[in-house]
């Protein structure tokens, strides 16, 4: 049955990595998923994309609907169990699996969730800390000056700070010009941005202006939620800064339109 088939893209001796694409990459930014596969394969991993994946359930979870999420969380845990590692191109979705699933699920499922959590990583952490990825045999990808947005869940739930910067150094020979107040939330917050748009608008405005003030041509980040928020605001205000996911930068995939830009 197709929906249960698992696709292994690069047979080899490396660890079996299950890629959880995340719903936002699946729907709005497939290049993030394709570039993730490429980065993982270049690092010697056998990549499997479970075809029955959808969403980790954060929207309902953050809204407080724990009941609806429990069966979904179990389904995701069961789907990911065969992997050596689970990798996600998102700090907040990785945080959901690593921290919130185990807190939400009880008894046998709690144990299973903990086991999956132990092998689940956000992609820059995985590349930098676990497989210690090196730049493939090619010259560094030249980039305009870039600034980086640390997503809150990545930063505070998973401690992601140095990893993306190290990778940008390694793959692109680029240093990040840090934006002021870099550890303050961009105002996305899942459903928050739609429930409290005015407050969220003020927060993303501050973030965008701090990013623009660095003079960077690209704002990169590891979480599509934040990036869609910031890119959308940049479009609204007419601020010329390209917003891209870090996986695109690491693969030099810069020809297509940035987030929110037309073809």
């Amino acid at each position: 049955m197709e929906s249960e088939a698992l696709h292994t893209t690069a047979p080899g001796g490396g660890p079996a990595v299950y890629l959880f694409v995340t719903c936002l990459a699946d729907l709005l930014r497939p290049s993030v998923a394709f570039n993730s596969i490429k980065l993982l394969e270049d690092a010697g991993c056998r990549v499997t994309v479970p075809l029955q994946q959808t969403c980790c359930g954060q929207p309902a979870y953050n809204t407080g609907d724990y009941k609806s999420i429990i069966p979904l969380a179990r389904q995701v845990v069961a789907m990911l169990e065969p992997a050596d590692y689970v990798v996600l191109p998102s700090g907040s979705c990785a945080g959901m699996i690593c921290h919130h699933y185990p807190a939400l699920l009880k008894d046998e499922w709690h144990e299973r969730a903990l086991q999956v959590a132990a092998k689940t990583f956000e992609i820059t952490t995985f590349l930098s800390d676990i497989v210690k990825a090196k730049r493939p045999e090619r010259p560094p990808i030249p980039l305009p000056p870039i600034t980086y947005h640390d997503s809150c869940a990545g930063l505070r739930e998973l401690g992601i700070k140095e990893q993306p910067r190290q990778l940008l150094q390694e793959f692109c020979d680029t240093q990040v010009s840090e934006l002021q107040q870099s550890e303050v939330c961009c105002g996305f917050g899942g459903t928050f941005c739609a429930k409290m748009p005015e407050i969220s608008g003020k927060m993303v405005q501050d973030k965008l202006h701090n990013a623009a003030a660095t003079g960077a041509g690209i704002l990169a980040g590891g979480d599509l939620g934040c990036l869609l928020n910031i890119a959308g605001r940049a479009r609204r205000e007419g601020v010329a800064i390209e917003v891209r996911h870090i996986t695109e930068l690491l693969c030099g995939d810069l020809d297509g339109p940035a987030i929110g830009e037309g073809e």
């Binding site: 029955q52 969403c55 407080g64 005015e198 890119a231 959308g232 929110g260």
Partner: protein
């Protein structure tokens, strides 16, 4: 205090529209975390001490009955009269009774969030008492007829220019100048001094109650607490039952985190321990002292899943680090306690229905929990309150239903992929040229503030499956 949390969104909207005030808030949002973080960097024992303080707080709360009893015994032995108030109204009546027993007309009051919670000032004023706040910030907002915007700095929302204007309007200045900030402070001092000397009753709060010796501890930077406590013949200390700590050393351990977290100082200018009324050999101090301990639903919180909230030591760090507090200011929250701690406490101390927006005023960014010296998982507690809103059907039906359907759909991969595939294909078709939408049905919240980026093409799942079919 009167509550208007139910209009949080409107309050927030009005606050955002006031550009001058927004500037003051932006400056505070930069400054307050800076001083706190500098103090912690120097201190270097934050995590260690935080775990210790958390344990002490949890232990005290786990044995609240026991420690309250020994506190009461010790305090009575020291010559205090101890009163317990179940509700805010009860506290107010106890305090008024004491004032009336002494035919008091003038009350000098130190900063106390508990009496804000019970609305004590208004209550005493209705009985024709002349109550004057003596903490500079509290004095300013009392003059302005406002309520505190912050639990540590009640007047942080006010600029020096505003305060100058306020004093010009309210005070008969005579020869006195209000040019500099020093002038403003000495103006307030002049007015307050006179009141201290003539008050018959002093009312203060407490940062901790020490069970082993029956003392209460208070920290201030102005010394006004000590003047309230020592000049009038009668002293009333109003605080809540959860302030209890077993030993004096627990109070000082807490202090090391409290002050750094609050103002970035290693110590406040004044740290006072009040034992009771003047003893024979004392040269000053009140003749009579009362301690009024408020419960106001704290026992209920203790018995609930939100009990960690009672570990709070009222430092205000979570407010200072909250981007939502920074955006809208304390008044928008519509009651005594704003920011993350207030968004948890307000629904618990009042009602979830009346304050249902507050638990939603959170992006789960986690900055508050990161700095909280009591290690309270504030974002988790806020999400649990949202859970309660879903369970009690307080949450807006459109969110409840919509996300329930989404969660269900996410469990049906084939259907999910089919539907999202169709939706995304359509969005891509409409949005590919411009790259984003400035309006989108069902997403008006999003598009009111920002464009919605168009999808990059067909969904990943569609593309990936097609590719693999092709390969096979």
């Amino acid at each position: 205090m009167q509550q208007y949390s139910d209009t949080f969104l409107d309050n927030a909207s009005a606050a955002l529209a006031d550009k001058d005030k927004a500037e003051v808030r932006d400056a505070m949002a930069l400054f307050t975390p800076l001083v706190r973080n500098a103090a912690m960097d120097q201190f270097q024992h934050f995590e260690e001490l935080r775990q210790h303080v958390k344990q002490v707080r949890q232990h005290s709360l786990d044995n609240l009955g026991h420690y309250l009893e020994s506190y009461e015994q010790q305090a009575v032995r020291n010559g205090n009269q101890v009163h317990f108030a179940t509700t805010g109204d009860e506290l107010n009546s106890i305090v008024l009774d004491i004032c009336q027993q002494h035919s008091a007309r003038r009350i000098a009051k130190g900063k106390s969030m508990i009496t804000e919670e019970t609305g004590l000032n208004a209550f005493l004023e209705r009985a024709n008492l002349d109550v004057m706040e003596t903490d500079l910030g509290e004095y300013i907002i009392q003059e302005a007829g406002e309520t505190p915007s912050h639990i540590v700095g009640p007047a942080l929302h006010k600029s020096a220019a505003e305060i100058r204007q306020l004093f010009l309007d309210r005070h008969d200045l005579g020869e006195r100048e209000l040019e500099t900030t020093e002038d403003l402070v000495s103006e307030a001092r002049q007015v307050l001094r006179e009141h201290f000397l003539n008050a018959q009753v002093g009312i203060i709060g407490a940062n901790a109650l020490i069970a082993e010796n029956g003392y209460s501890m208070l920290v201030t930077n102005e010394g006004n607490g000590d003047l309230c406590a020592n000049l009038p013949p009668v002293l009333i200390i109003c605080t809540s039952v959860d302030r209890i700590l077993p030993r004096a050393e627990d109070a000082t351990a807490m202090l090391r985190l409290l002050v750094r977290s609050a103002t970035g100082q290693a110590q406040t200018c004044y740290t006072s321990f009040y034992s009771g009324p003047r003893r024979e050999q004392d040269i000053d101090g009140p003749m009579e002292t009362h301690i009024v301990l408020l419960d106001n639903r704290r026992s209920d919180i203790l018995a609930s899943d939100y009990r960690e909230m009672l570990q709070c030591i009222r430092c205000g760090a979570c407010l200072n680090h909250c981007p939502i507090f920074a955006s809208v200011g304390g008044h928008a929250y519509g009651w005594v306690y704003p920011g993350p701690m207030g968004s948890v406490l307000t629904p618990l101390l009042t009602s979830l229905e009346q304050s249902q927006a507050l638990p939603n005023a959170c992006t789960s960014c986690g900055r508050c929990a990161e700095v909280c010296p009591a290690d309270i998982p504030l974002p988790d507690l806020l999400r649990d309150l949202r859970h309660a809103e879903v369970e009690e059907k307080i949450a807006a039906p459109r969110w409840r239903q919509g996300l329930k359907i989404h969660a269900w759909l996410a469990r049906q991969p084939r259907l999910y992929q089919l539907l999202t595939g169709m939706g995304i294909a359509l969005l891509y078709l409409l949005g590919r040229k411009r790259g984003s939408f400035s309006k989108l049905p069902l997403a008006s919240g999003w598009t009111s503030q920002r464009d919605f980026p168009s999808p990059q093409g067909r969904t990943f799942m569609q593309q990936y499956k097609a590719e693999h079919k092709h390969r096979e």
